[in-house]
Amino acid sequence: MTNAAQSASVPLPPPDATNKQICCEYCPVGCGYRVYSWPVGTQGGNAADENALGVEYPASALSGRWISENMHTVVDIDGRDHNVVIIPDADIQAVNIGGEHSIRGGALAKKLYTGSGPTADRLRTPYLRVRGDLVPISWEMASDLVADLGRHVIDNYGELAWGMKVYSYQFFQNTFAATKLAFASVGTPNYSPHHAPAEGDDTPGLSDAGIDAFGAAYEDFSEADVLFIAGSDPYETKTIAFTKWMVEGGADIIFVDPRRTYTASHALANGGMHLQLKPGTDTALYSAIVREIIDNGWEDRDFIDRYTASRAELDAEGGWRRQLFGRTFDELREYLFSRDEFTPDGAAAITGVPADQIREAARRLSGGGAGERPKVAVAFEKGVYWSHNYENTAAVANLGVVLGSTGRPGRSVGRMGGHQRGGQSAAGYPKDKSPHDYLGNKVEMDTERWLVEGNTRFRWVVGQNWLGAMGATQALREATEQLLSVGPQVTSTDPDIAFDQLKARIDAGGMVLVHQETYHNESTALADIILPAGAWGEDDYVRNNAERRMRLYQKIMDPPGDAKPDWQIFAMVAKKMGYDGFDWEDTNEIFEEAAPRSAGSRKDWLALVEFAQAEGRRTHDVLLDFGTTGIQTPIKLEDGQLVGTPRLHADLTFKSDSGKANFVFADWDEVAKRNDILGPADGEMWVLNGRVNELWNNLSDFTRRKIADDRWPMNWLEIHPDDAAAMGIESGDLVSIESDNVLDQVGRTVTGSFTAVAYVSDIVPPGVTFTYFMFPGSPANSVVSGDTTLQPINLRYNFKLGKGRVRKIGTTGLAETMSFAPRNLALGP
């Protein structure tokens, strides 16, 4: 009963409780937390000097010092039951000032392994699949198999047949260790992140404008006069960036999304705008706003004249993408004015956003030529770059550049972020070895296409529900099952027999699947070998939030059972494969080794290491001095002091050979063609997917957390009342969503389907539905294309352009217990 949500007391940490720091595991905001732990049997008192928080209880409103029931748990530390309280750090000087938090991070304590209760099923031992069942094996046997099979594949089929699929974001130490194996040691291009089929840049259009996607500081959201927020609801998925920095700053909000989410309602109730565009039409909308700005002479002339590239400068650029798509202001203007689609009326017909709203948005964003130019922060996320990747990110970049929205307080254009930022590769991605190209220019390998084509003989998946996260989920799963069924299956736990059988499968053209995880998920269900991984709070780690704020995440407890931190697993296997340079003692050593690789990038922490070494200290310890407030990268050493960088491009130089920014060609014809291929066919509706406030990602923590499980006991489908009425659907009904018109990884037309409980709501417009993107047992990405040849410039899926037929197939019994009330009720001023 340790985790019962119904107990009516929580123990206060006594003054001598162990007090550590950590930051939130979930969204990109990265709120700071304190972790108090102390042996069960004692507790602090209500007087300020009787508890570790140092405050009088009851805690006052907005104090940030109240411990809710979900902020407490009991875990085993060093063989003894300990109370653990994880509470927002009310003393932090940034991010979640005053101890703000969301429902996700606020319940972090429930993430910890307790040995009983919902987290008891953490993976604690390696497994081998024998005759279809997973049986426990030793680390020695597991790491021998992974190393020896990998070696066999590389030696006989080349490094392109050996692949890894690894979280891109997790912690610097773990991503460095993984890429040291994959890039620096094996040298394979068969490597991709959790969210995409290929390595590389998620927002290429913005990059090609010379602008860093994470240049802004949260202060910019407060200092802006106008916030242009597109393709993600910040209240729901970057909560504290919204409540603390966007709302408190009081900016005029222009929110762009096909759904009338909370932020849309909030904007409207507070004098802002909601540009409710049709799915897949962002390029037309942003281009039309830019055209309207230019048409009225409202562009930031001074910025454009001084800081954007000329034709000669663009011609001298080294990168092929900027050479192909870089544009001067005059060239952009010529394109925008050559097409009827970008007039207010033309864009209104395409986007569904009325022409007068397009004109009004242009006026608000530019100030309409009257008075001082407003400071505009443009903040976008996946709704923009995962519907049409290149064109949408180019079009939104053009909006930022035409407004001069970069590098200065309150002026920015960039991502709000999907995860925190813990990626640091140990070597360059070997793009020259990639089999894929665009117009003769190498692009990163589409590892899923490569796999379905039968080229991958060994795949090692780390920290993700891989299949659920990729387009055409069900087709990819079938293709994977097919590769795993070639040749013999393992029939023995004898290491030699198991190795020979898996080797025989590889030699017969099949594949071996290794999965390194914290919990079983839908992808581990296929794995031959499972490696139990440590997690957040189970070692000391470092990562950045979405404003490049670097903090130390301290270890709270050991990984459960025989589970090991990821870096240790990579090192163990790498050494057995015969590679050098994996003899780390701890994560501090990796962090210091990785620093030179970060130099010159947005996360540059080399100065931190140099400073620590000069002081004769560990770099982790120096970073700990900065508390949960941390320090924003790139970090510099000035007059013997470590200094952070609040915002990038502050000197108004940009990431291009000339140091200038530029405009980018956002080709509407390509978008229109793709919309024709991907959009709903007769009888189908749009099936958009994304995150919501109360959940995070593949729900590995959240299906194990009562407050989340009560709220969302199964996947749901938002459907407009008119559509629901026409189909006889009510909230609480079970619906099937199916499309027989999905493109798989190799361009075949396949079917995909999933089920969900209907949530009838005008949060979605008619013709559009919305569902959670990765709910266990409900593969929403199975109605999303898996064919990256549609976006050959940058191999990404069109995740936000799913479609399908919706049909009632029964009821769920949830109508009485789950809230189907509106999720977009907002307050005015």
Binding site: H101, I103, T817, R823, L827
Partner: protein, 178 residues
């Protein structure tokens, strides 16, 4: 019969019998703490009259402090069947109206939707017909539910489930209502 306080609270939730059937809760049963020691007076919830059935109107909330002074609650006849609701229509519920996010007062009951909120501070909305589930928002617990029992025309508060904002124990750290 000694029960731990937690069993006592769960008994109310699990069976729903004493509230649903209108049985008056025995407020003086002997309680023990989790270790089986006899519990003090401090663990006993007071029985407090908070409203009268005949005066309640759909969607018009009544506010009262319980069990401690300053622990403000909202009682409302939701107007549609409510989880654990009492009264002839099974739609009368009461909850702490101190937001379980960061303690701001929740006063706006939206009768159309059966929700309390959005909270003025960070916009959490609670569904009062669904045991104050977070419909949308940042509170890390459902609102504490006040156990109600009718006695003739009177409605009594007889206990509270879940931790009240600000407290480390819902029954200590303040003065009892009288």
């Amino acid at each position: 019969m000694p029960m731990t306080r937690r069993e006592f609270l769960f008994a109310g939730v699990a069976t729903g019998a004493f509230v649903g059937a209108g049985i008056v809760l025995p407020v003086a049963i002997s309680l023990t703490d989790d270790d089986g020691n006899p519990d003090s007076e401090a663990l006993l919830y007071p029985r407090q009259r908070v409203a009268s059935l005949s005066e309640l109107r759909n969607g018009e909330p009544v506010f009262f402090d319980y069990p401690l002074v300053g622990q403000s609650n909202i009682l409302v006849k939701v107007g549609a069947p409510a989880e654990a609701g009492i009264g002839p229509d099974g739609d009368i519920v009461a909850f702490s109206n101190l937001c379980t996010h960061m303690g701001c007062p929740l006063i706006e009951f939206q009768a159309d939707h059966g929700v309390l909120g959005p909270c003025p501070c960070h916009f959490t909305t609670f569904d009062l017909a669904r045991d104050a589930q977070v419909t949308l928002g940042q509170a890390t617990q459902q609102l504490p539910r006040v156990l109600l029992t009718p006695d003739g025309d009177d409605i009594y508060a007889v206990g509270i489930l879940r931790l009240v904002y600000g407290y480390s124990d819902s029954l200590t750290g303040g003065e009892r209502v009288s």
